[in-house]
Amino acid sequence: MSFCLDTYLQQSDNYEIHASKAGFKDCAMIIRFKADDLVYIKPGDEVLGVRVIGIPPIPIGFDHEKGTVFLPYTKPCHGTSVVELPIDEEEVEKIRKLDTGNKK
């Protein structure tokens, strides 16, 4: 069975929330600040089993030393959060393939 972020966040406590109930732009800035490596994806691209919601270009960050990914997570009533959770190399490579290269 493939990984699903929604299920993971409900059933695991091995993740960290760096911002919650925030605006998308603030969350994008936090990801750019915290990550040591970034890729930029389009809204609707699938990462860890969910379509990522946001304003392009959407930053997805990595901390390679910790083996974690930072991504924006948006809910209609709760705004956008920045979630950091463990990720394996296979998923990192899948995300790299989505990189638009567009940072503006």
Binding site: F24, K25, I53, P76, C77, T80
Partner: protein
């Protein structure tokens, strides 16, 4: 022809009557109309039409997001009154790659301007109807009626 009406967080009083109004108008224009919303916003709309007079087709927003593909709808109309709603609208707009109309409103004029710029900065070609409104749906209705004429 199929139209998708995207609702945001149900905290804004004018969203529910406008959802019924927009759905009814689009249906009269010949669209097979679907309203996508989170569970609370869906319930507010559903309870507003107890006799199913308007035949409102309500679906779960996040489930639909996981399923839609480019071209599934011919028109997207989105209610944008929160930062998250702007993000959802832009995301559906980019996936569907179809004609779209954003109804941007807030009680705060600065927020209206901010949400408009979020949509514009995304590169979206959506028509944007923006107005300061919160409790009273009339300003949104007036803007919608004017904007939707471009899609007739």
């Amino acid at each position: 022809m199929k139209a998708l009406v995207l609702l945001g967080c149900p905290e804004t009083p004018s969203q529910t009557p406008m959802a019924v109004y927009v759905s009814s108008k689009l249906t009269k224009m010949g669209y097979d109309t679907t309203i996508a919303a989170n569970p609370a916003a869906k319930k507010l709309v559903k309870v507003s039409d107890p006799e199913d007079f308007y035949h409102l087709n309500l679906v779960d927003l996040e489930r639909l997001l996981g399923e839609i593909n480019p071209g599934d709808f011919d028109l997207l109309v989105g209610f944008v009154h929160k930062d998250a709603a702007a993000s959802f609208f832009v995301t559906f707009d980019q996936i569907l790659q179809t004609k779209s109309l954003a109804l941007v409103f807030s009680r705060d004029a600065d927020e209206v301007a901010e949400f408009v710029s979020m949509i514009e900065e995304s590169g979206s070609e959506a028509k944007i109807a923006a107005v300061r409104a919160f409790h009273n749906p009339s300003p949104i209705k007036v803007k919608f009626d004017k904007a939707i004429k471009e899609f007739e």
